[in-house]
């Protein structure tokens, strides 16, 4: 299945391209965490949304993605 991963803020560079977006081909029912693998050892600390719904850290290894889902990853921020 195809899913889209959007890298926002300072994580944009982690996408490896100028658009900050990566299209992934994952096995059917792959968990949210699988979309983040390979983009950095600190991905566990990123804020993660699937189709604009927040996905808690504990749920990322459990909740399955569906084809067409948009995964958005955000760096932790503190003020600014």
């Amino acid at each position: 299945m195809k899913v889209t991963v959007r890298f926002l803020g300072s994580l944009r560079v982690r996408s490896g391209n100028s658009s900050g977006v990566r299209e992934l081909d994952l096995p059917e029912g792959a968990p949210v965490a699988s979309a983040l693998q390979g983009f950095g050892p600190d991905s566990d600390h990123w804020l993660t949304l699937v189709n604009d719904a927040r996905i808690g850290r504990d749920d990322r290894g459990r909740l399955p993605l569906a084809g067409g889902d948009i995964v958005t990853v955000l760096p932790p921020i503190r003020g600014g």
């Binding site: 803020g9 804020l47 949304l49 604009d52 719904a53 927040r54 850290r57 955000l74 921020i77 600014g80």
Partner: protein, 608 residues
């Protein structure tokens, strides 16, 4: 010793300045900067006195790490009663002014009284004198700095001054130093203007001694290494705080159009990528980054406006490099007013620096004015013919000019959103707490931030608590009162040290702070002691506000945040659960149900 053990007391009414010893007992209890300045304020000022009265005092305070080799050790604060809020005000600035004041040999300057004519304070080490400023009155911040340096033939003088906005009484005027660093919030510049004190110019040639020089060398170098190896520090250096724009927007906590919305369709035109990418003419807004004194982060943005842009087409003086958009400025002069024009926001930001205005309160007040206009509460008759509609970049820039110069309707907007909305019969449209406008986060998707806004002693503020990590994890409220309370205490200690809060977003912890303070200052400074100092400061600020007339009813949020569900984002459908969190917060603080510190709490903190 960290401290210079000396303060400068300046009486404007009598026209004299003299030094006196620093109260070292208070230094041990309140550390410096925010804490120590507030302690002097509490001892010397009746909180019921009007912020603009001659009896009000204005305190410039450095921390024990200001002017040392500690990374980010360039901070100072201005403590007084806020002209915008009527509450205790403590506004923090970077740049190089604070370190220079320390080099001149002073921990604090206490300004008293009111001058009969405009003056400026000139300090050169032990010499301090009040000089006529008639020729400077009316000059911009930028021009004032140039004139003072020229008058004294010394390009190394550091200047903190007010602009024309403070002179006419704009309620959110700030004190600007080093051209584009500011003690920005709560109207501390307005208080300075009421005293007819145009500027403080300082040149210092001394160093700062530390308690344990070798230990301090080790501690500060280790702390710098912590920053150097931290990914968030690298992000902050590369992108600046404006990188937060995408995050806040995606999350649904970017206040937009006076908080009617929480996501902005034009955010991608105001983000870090847009700032660093050539526009259709090949112009890039961002020139480089910049650092304050001793800082190894360098998050500041130095920008210039496309010379073809409507704002500068006939104003070449604004085509030069100057302080560019930070996240808060981009929100206030962007999404808050529905404007997605980066150059327009940059221009309005330049005017804030040049004329001395807080961009957060300016943007919040203009957003309120736009909603007043669109809802029919005001019309072109009140605005002097200006069509004030969300998204209109030209209206934003024109109204910013009017506020800066105190022209027509600009004076109404210069009162701040709370006074503005009350005047035109729609007080609920002011997105403010204790009279101070919201920062760039929404209290519905970020429940902890809402509690932080409501309980902040200086009015709504994003830098008085640190609920960020928990808020981005969950909207469940059980833990939020404790997180807000504990982080408020930590921040109060950090704000009293001379270091920058942003370093604590970039790798530092309270342990990093304790190691540096303990080597810098005598007295045995542990994390536990710093936390108690922070809690003491918070409660002292609370006591000042209570004495000034604030009550539990002021620990609240606008109706929009309490009753109108967030329209989108991760907090869609939520309102603030402040009524549930506030009693728990009071109990954790050791306050009674009316929000007053109990006798036991005051005794525990040596405040009885």
């Amino acid at each position: 010793m960290g401290w210079q053990r000396r303060i400068l007391r300046v009486n404007l009414t009598e026209g004299r300045a003299a030094s006196e010893p620093l109260n070292m007992e208070w230094a041990q209890q309140y550390l410096g900067q925010r804490g120590l300045g507030t302690r002097y304020f509490a001892a010397e000022v009746d909180p019921r006195v009007d912020a603009l009265a001659p009896e009000m005092k204005l305190i410039f305070a450095t921390g024990p790490l200001t002017g040392t080799m500690a990374s980010t050790g360039g901070r100072y604060s201005v403590i007084t009663k806020g002209a915008l809020t009527g509450a205790i005000a403590c506004s923090n600035s970077g740049g190089k002014f604070g370190a220079e004041l320390k080099f001149a040999g002073y921990d604090l300057i206490i300004i008293e009284g009111r001058a009969t004519r405009p003056v400026y304070l000139y300090i050169r080490d032990d010499e301090a004198e009040l000089l006529p400023a008639d020729a400077l009155w009316g000059a911009s911040v930028w021009r004032t700095e140039e004139l003072i340096r020229t008058a004294h033939q010394d390009p190394q003088i550091r200047v903190a001054s007010i602009g024309p906005a403070a002179e006419y009484g704009c309620r959110y005027a700030c004190v600007v130093n080093d051209l584009h660093r500011a003690a920005g919030r709560s109207g501390v510049g307005t208080v300075m203007g009421a005293k007819q004190l145009k500027a403080i110019a300082v040149r210092g040639t001394r160093g700062v001694a530390t308690h344990d020089p070798i230990g301090f060398h080790t501690a500060s170098n280790a702390a710098k290494a912590e920053l150097a190896g931290n990914a968030s520090r690298a992000d902050l250096t590369r992108d600046g705080t404006i990188a937060t724009m995408d995050v806040a927007n995606a999350f649904g906590t970017l206040p937009t159009r006076n908080n009617r919305d929480v996501q902005f369709e034009g955010a991608h035109k105001l983000n870090a990528t847009a700032m660093a990418t050539p526009n259709e003419h090949g112009h890039v807004n961002l020139i480089t980054n910049g650092a304050c004194f001793g800082c190894t982060i360098a998050c500041g943005r130095i920008s210039h406006i496309d010379p073809r842009h409507f704002t500068v087409r006939d104003q070449p003086q604004y085509r030069t490099a100057s302080g560019g958009l930070e996240y808060e400025t981009a929100y206030a002069l962007g999404s808050a007013v529905g404007v997605d024009d980066m150059d327009a926001a940059t221009y309005a930001g330049f005017l804030c620096n040049e004329y001395g205005m807080d961009p957060i309160s300016l943007g919040g007040s203009i957003a309120a004015a736009m909603e007043l206009f669109e809802s029919g509460a005001i019309s072109r008759a009140e605005t002097g013919g200006l069509e004030l509609r969300f998204g209109d970049a030209a209206a934003l820039c024109r109204l910013t000019e009017m506020v800066a110069k105190g022209e027509g309707f600009g004076r109404d907007v210069g009162m701040g959103s709370q006074r503005l909305c009350a005047k035109y019969g729609r007080p609920e449209l002011a997105m403010a707490v204790k009279g101070q406008e919201f920062a760039a986060y929404d209290g519905r998707s970020m429940q902890g931030m809402g509690l932080g806004y409501a309980t902040s002693n200086r009015g709504a503020c994003h830098l008085r608590a640190d609920p960020y990590g928990h808020d981005f994890s969950t909207t469940e409220i059980d833990e939020k009162p404790r997180i807000v309370k504990d982080s408020q205490d930590d921040v109060a200690a950090i704000d009293s040290s001379g270091l920058c809060l942003f370093a604590f977003s970039a790798g530092w912890s309270m342990e990093s702070l304790a190691r540096q303070i303990d080597a810098d200052c005598a007295g045995g400074w542990s994390v536990e002691k710093l936390k108690q100092v922070g809690e003491r400061i918070w409660n002292l600020e609370r006591q000042i506000n209570l004495a000034a007339g604030f009550t539990r009813r002021d620990d609240t949020l606008p109706r929009r945040i309490l009753e109108e569900p967030a329209p989108s984002g991760t907090g869609k459908g939520l309102v603030s659960r402040l009524p549930e969190m506030l009693p728990v917060y009071y109990r954790l603080r050791g306050w009674d149900e009316d929000g007053r510190p109990t006798a036991e709490t005051l005794a525990r903190l040596d405040l009885a």
